[in-house]
Structures are given as C-alpha cells and as structure tokens.
Symmetry: C2
Subunit: 468 residues, 2 copies
C-alpha cells in the first residue's frame, strides 16, 4: 500500500521531490518544538497541477495530507502526526510572484512565496503590501491565508483575509478551483474564498492568491506614550482614531512587566519611558508628507496630555529611532523565552471590555498562583492581547508549564468567554486548541463547521485532527 | 396541512402578525415590479426566538421560507414564488439598535433596522457607519448583509461584508447561532459569518449583526473632472490613490450618454463639464480640517492637469454644491427609467481591464444592435460598472428588452468572463441570474456551493430556487 502510494507520489512530482530518508526535522518538527511528527513522505510539488495529482493519489490510497508553508505556525497545525502515515505536502517550491497589476493595485502570488518577498515585490512597483508579522522572513502567503494571519498593521489594513481578493485552491477531490479574482466586488454565490481562508488546510489546499496592494505612504512616524492604566490606553485609542482616522496604522500596548523583561535581557535597547505602568506604541502614516504626519501626531499627543490620558510621550525623530521603538516592542517575545517557558494566550476582546478583563483576570491568577507574573502586551487597537503567564521567580518554569497550563488556561479562557472574546485571535486552532474549541465554541457553530467539513472533505483527506 | 402550519405560525408570532388576506403586494411584488409571487402567509416575527419558532414550524411542515427586509433587492431574491406555498418571513419588526459601543467602535443592530436609521444612530454617537446606497431609506441591514451590498463608499470602507464583525443567525433547523462578536480578530474555526453574508437567505436567516464604525471625518469634499477616455480615468484613479491614500472615499465614473440622459430628463440640475466624454466624481475625506482636504484635492487636480489625464475640473465650494454633484450622479438610474426600460448589467472587472473591455463590448453591441445606446456609469474605483443598454431611438424599449435581453446578455457576459470579471458585482444572483450562474461559474465552485447548501439546509427550507 505505502509502496504503491510512494510510486504514485514520485510519478506526480518527480522522485527527487519525494523525501523519505534523512533528517526531515525542518518539516516534521514545529517552530516552537512542541510537536514532532513522522511523515510517510515529504512531497514538494512545483505546480498547481502537481498538487492536484498528489491529492488524488493520497485520496485514492486513503492517506491524509498536511499542507505546510514556512512551518512557522504556533498551534501545531502544519506538522504531521506521529503515525508515519500522513503525507507532508510542502508548498515551498511554489514561490513565484505570478503578476503585479499596478492599475488594479493587486498582486498574484503562489502559496509558497515568502511574506517578505511579497512585500519586496510590491515595494519594487512603488506599492505597499501591508501584511507584516514577526515571522515574515520565513512564513509564506499560503500559510498566512490558511491561518488568517494578523500582525502589526491589522488596525488599518485588516487581517490576511481582508487583504485577499481571490484564491486558487486544490479541493479534497484533487480538482483545481481557479478563483483568482482581482475583483473588489463579486456577489456570485457563496463566499468560498473566506471559507478557505483560516481553515488551516482542512477544507482545501491554497496554491495561489490575488492580494490587494495599497499606495506606499509618503511618511511613517512612531511614538511611545505612557498611561497609568488600561482605561487611559483605551481613551487614547479613541482620541487617536478621531485625530488620525485612517492615518493611524498601529496601536500596540506593553505592560510594565513586559518592558522590564526586555530591559533585563536586552539592556542595550532604549527605554524611553521607564517605569510607566503601560506604554503605548503609536504608528501614523501619511500620504502627503512627513511634516504633515508630524503636525498631526504632535497635535494628538498634545490633546492626550491635555486630556490627561497620557503622562508623557516621545516621538521618533528619524527612521532609525522609529525602528528602535518598534524593536523594543518586537523584543518582548524573545525576552520572554530567555526568561524561560511561559503559558501563552492569544486572545481577543471587545476593546471596551479589556480594562475590566485584565483587572479581574490578573487578580484571579495572582490568587491562584501567588507571585506569578502576567506578561501582557499586544495589538490593543485590534482588541488582541498576548496575555502570557510567567512562573513566580524561583519557581521552575518548565514544571510550572507542565503542571499548571490547564488550570491557568481555565481561568483565562473562562474570563475571555464571559466577555464574548476569542481564545484564538490570530494564531488559529491547529492541534493545540482543538479541545478548547470543542468545549468553548457554540455547539450550533460547531455543528455547522462539522457539516461543512463533511461536505467538502467527506473522506477526511485534508489535515484530519486539526481545528475540528 | 396548510391550516396546521398557519396555526403553528400564529402560535409562534401571534395571530395578527400572520397576514394571509388583503393586498400583500408590499411583500409579494419586488421593487422593480419584475416578479409577483403569492405567499401562503406573510409572517412578521418580533424577536429572534420567534424567527426560530417560524423556521421550525415550516421545516416540520415541509414548507419553504423566503426572508425579506426592505424588499428593495434588484434580482428577485426576496419575494416568494407563485406557488402560494412559501412563507414570506418579514424581518421589518425587528428593527432595534441593540447597542452602540463607542470605545470598541461597533454597533449591534437587528436585521430589520433600516440602513438610514443605522447611519443616524452612529452619527448620534459621533461616529460614521459608512454603508451608503440609493435604497438606504428603506433597505435593511439584514438584506444588506444577505446580499453583501456595495454602494458608494466601498472604495474606502469595503462592502457590507467588510463592515460586519459578527452575526446572529437562525439556521435551517431553527437553531440560533449567536455569533454577535464585536471582535476584529477571531481565528476559532471556519468563517461562518462570511459564508452567511451574501448567501441571500439560502443558508440561514440573519437576525442581527455587529457592525464596525469609523470616526466621522472633519471634512468631505467632492469634485468633478473630465477625461477624454477611460484609460485617462484609470490613470486618474492611480494618481488619486497615491495623492490621497485612504482619504479617497469615492471614485465614480459617468459616460457622456449617461449625463446626457440626466440633462434631458432633469434640465434643472447643474451640468458642470458639458460634453466631456467621461466625467469622474471624486470624493475626499479628511480627519483633520477642510483646509487640509482642499489643499490635498487641489494638489491632486493640478497634478492630473499637468499629467494630461484630465481636461478640466470643478471642486464643490460648499456642502450644498457637493450634494448637487452627487445628485447628478445619483440621478442617472432615474433618468434611465424615464427614458424607458433598459437592459441592466452590474458587472465587475479588474480596473486595468476596463478600458479594453468597454471598447470591445461597445463595438460588439453597436454591430449587433445599431443605434443602441450604452449607458455606462458606476464605481470605477471598485471596478464596478453599471453597463446598461438602451434601445436605439425610435425602437420600442419594452419590445427591445423582451426580445433582445438574452442576446445582449450573451455579448456582455461573454466579454466579462473573458476578462475574469463578475456578472454580479453588488446585486447578487437571486432568481434573475441563477441560470447565468449555472452556465458561467466554475463547475468546481458550483459543486462546492451545492455541497454546502446540502450540508446546512438538507431539506431545502431556506429560499429554494434562489442563487443555486
């Protein structure tokens, strides 16, 4: 059986693109090193037609397929299970920019195109592809769409979903759906595009996409501002929306404990507002000029000082200074991992519910785990917090993770659900949160999801055991 | 059978909300007066629970349901068929604004809330609900979402889909899915929200929605500019995007024939650029001040004059003048109907393909129907044209419509499909374009749509014979 399938796969993509021997960790071990699987084979098709052949071969052999892009996912959705029977389908060879249409402001890319390469291709035509996230040097467009990736510019430009106009998809039956529309309006039937986006390879395999592009801004400015509490951060967000409108492109929040970890592990980095209970990073783009952008953000900061919602602020005076401020923000995850393992949450809440949620949940965690430290930071403008718990000083971090993760998650996720929030804002479900989803998602929604999975992949060929 | 169902419906919503006698044209005849149906009953539930009871009663009686909002649809998707056996479910009584959350910039509305009332409610809190279209005085949010309505601000804010964060839906089994999320990020499983949006009442009945709000702009300016051909209009669009970025909120195009019809039927309206082959309406919003908006749009128009992509331009000097310019644009459909019946198309194309498409299709129509007049206008910024054909002067318009509609549609839709365009940009499929869809949509996509319909509505209770 396996030998016949391997022969069919070799016939589909060429023998040297079917890997079965040697160290396949790059495909079988996830980026966080939490899941190590074993694939029957790693298959590397070079075209959409080859992907279709692979799917047909697997479907008729009764084998299942895990699609993978840059293998940077955080929830174990893109690595095979341990059975040694799944086929790992890597899209990395399909990495071409197929077309850029300036007048239509769109770009068509293959799934394996690395996000940074996509950004660069757009910039080469004087346009902006605004999807931006920490893994952009290795994650791929296909993975970004399969997980509906977020990142730092969602506030202005939306998630991967909002940036996508059309998809090319290989279905569970190995048929090719060419939905590569460059259209901003198309009301001809059900929204299959958005159904595929975020389905984590369980409903179809995305092989290419047409994405929206935006004008490059004339200027981009970054500021830090200090707030005494989260309510003040929320008030600043409202004020910033009113003052800047669509020019507000980023609104990130960082708690004191998060920035203290950065200061501890990266003492060489600047610390412009030391001791602030909360620090907000504001990003402002302007289509016209740097002078105009500066005048607008200065007016905003002055109004915020007058209102009392911020205590102090610094505005980057150069691109290098702006990069340095962003670098502080982006160093939090690394500072955290240097501090030792921690219990991560990627949650979303209505912005208005965040101050109360944090106050209550901080207190509940402190009561249950005295001395533990909440490392709270994230995309406040989108209502998305990375609300992580680090063991108390002196407590062995790995043991804390192993023993307390379920209890911590219960406290955090119960509080999230009570606020009508989400237990996965931007990372997806994968293998990690499948059981949480089953417990916490509306049964009516779950039943519809299962019916759709059954309808589009009745044999369970595509990434079984993930999401549902 | 019918008597038992009527009793069950009366028990569900109260006897005086089940209408079976008298003139029910307001529900049974569509706005364009192209479809007159006959319902078993018109049922007017007052709550989500009552909608669920109605669906359960119909499902167990084997009756089907047509959901209706303001009955302003253009494709016959919201009126019953002629069988006298369908239940017309009117959402009009469910018209409350349930909540406005300023800090989260969201608003939760019931499906029967009239669009204009929703705009007013947002404005009352100092916020903008940007969905805007001709029928806004009577269309409802539920219908807007069921058809993924477009309108005049899609360029900046997106379709109804992009404005929606969450839905409450009654499923085909009469269960209530509460997906009324106010979250901007939520990657917990398949995107049921976007699957329901645009499904025209065939997959579920939308009973409420949470919508995004935006800051009210400080100033809004409107200009007309003249172009010699559509390539120049497309060049102006690129220039406007670069100069104005997100401040560009509208970009409409009007052909000479369209404006000549307006001049003929509404001679009292202004005609600022008479004789222009193409007139572009530009709309620009600014978060800061009118002076800034004016400086930016003047700089754009000067650059366009220098580039040679426009011949002349006028900029409204007051809100009243801006309204007058918009009024010219909005008078085209009415001028057309005063001229007599015509063959309408609501098409979308990649913007870059529009000049070639129009040149070729104009020529093909002229060859087939000498003297016929293409009335071409629409949302060029979204690639969406209302590309309508009026009979040659002297040809009886109703006879032309009756006899030539299929032949005209074949020429237009063949050309649309050859450009990877859409035969329904913003109006939907309904009953009108169902056969076109079957002929022209990808068979792979159609098969997925049918599988989804079967999965979510196996009995065919919800709006059968529409879309699919």
């Amino acid at each position: 059986m396996n030998a016949a399938l391997l022969d069919a796969l070799r016939a589909a993509v060429g023998a040297n693109q079917v890997l079965t021997d040697g160290d396949l960790s790059a495909y079988e071990l996830d980026w966080r090193k939490r899941w190590r699987g074993k694939a029957l084979a790693v298959v590397r098709p070079g075209s959409t037609a080859e992907v279709a052949h692979v799917v047909k071969a697997c479907a008729s052999a009764g084998a299942s397929i895990v699609a993978q892009g840059g293998n940077t996912g955080l929830v174990g959705g893109g690595v095979p299970d341990a059975s040694g029977r799944q086929v790992l389908l890597s899209l990395q060879r399909m990495n071409r920019v197929r077309a850029i249409d300036r007048a239509n402001a769109t770009m068509t890319l293959e799934a394996g195109c690395v996000l940074k390469a996509a950004q660069d291709a757009a910039a080469g035509h004087g346009l902006l592809f605004p999807l931006s996230l920490a893994a952009e040097g290795s994650c791929t467009i296909g993975g970004n769409l399969a997980t509906n990736a977020g990142g730092t510019q969602v506030l202005r430009f939306g998630n991967a979903r909002e940036l996508c106009l059309g998809l090319e998809v290989v279905t569970a039956r190995g048929e090719v759906w060419n939905g590569l529309s460059g259209l901003r309006k198309d009301n001809t039937g059900y929204d299959l595009r958005d159904l595929m986006i975020g389905s984590e390879g369980t409903l179809g395999i995305i092989t290419a996409a047409t994405m929206k592009l935006h004008p490059l801004p004339a200027a981009q400015l970054t500021a830090f501002a200090s707030c005494t509490d989260l309510s003040a951060c929320v008030a600043l967000l409202e004020l910033a929306r009113r003052h800047l409108g669509a020019a507000l492109t980023g609104f990130e929040v960082m708690g004191l404990a998060a920035l203290e970890l950065v200061a501890k592990h990266f003492p060489q980095l600047p610390r412009p507002l030391p001791g602030a209970a909360w620090t907000v990073l504001l990003d402002c783009a302007d289509a016209h000029s740097e002078a105009q952008a500066r005048a607008r953000i200065e007016a905003l900061l002055q109004a915020a000082l007058d209102d009392g919602c911020i205590g102090d602020a610094v505005l980057a005076e150069s691109v290098a200074q702006a990069r340095a401020l962003w670098h502080v923000r982006e160093s939090i995850p690394l500072a955290q991992s240097l501090e030792g393992p921690n219990i991560k949450h990627d949650i979303a809440l209505p912005v208005s519910a965040i101050p109360g949620f944090v106050q209550r949940t901080d207190a509940a965690l402190q009561a249950a785990f005295p001395g533990s430290r909440v490392i709270n930071f994230g995309h406040l403008g989108d209502g998305n917090l990375h609300y992580n718990l680090q063991a108390a000083p002196g407590v062995q971090a790995q043991a804390f993770l192993d023993q307390q993760e379920a209890a911590v998650n219960r406290i955090v996720y119960d509080a999230v659900v009570a606020c009508d929030g989400s237990i996965s804002a931007e990372h997806g479900i994968g293998a990690l949160k499948r059981h949480e989803l089953r417990e916490r998602k509306s049964p009516v929604a779950l039943a519809m999801m299962k019916a759709i999975k059954q309808a589009l992949d009745p044999q369970g060929t595509l990434n079984p055991g993930r999401v549902l």
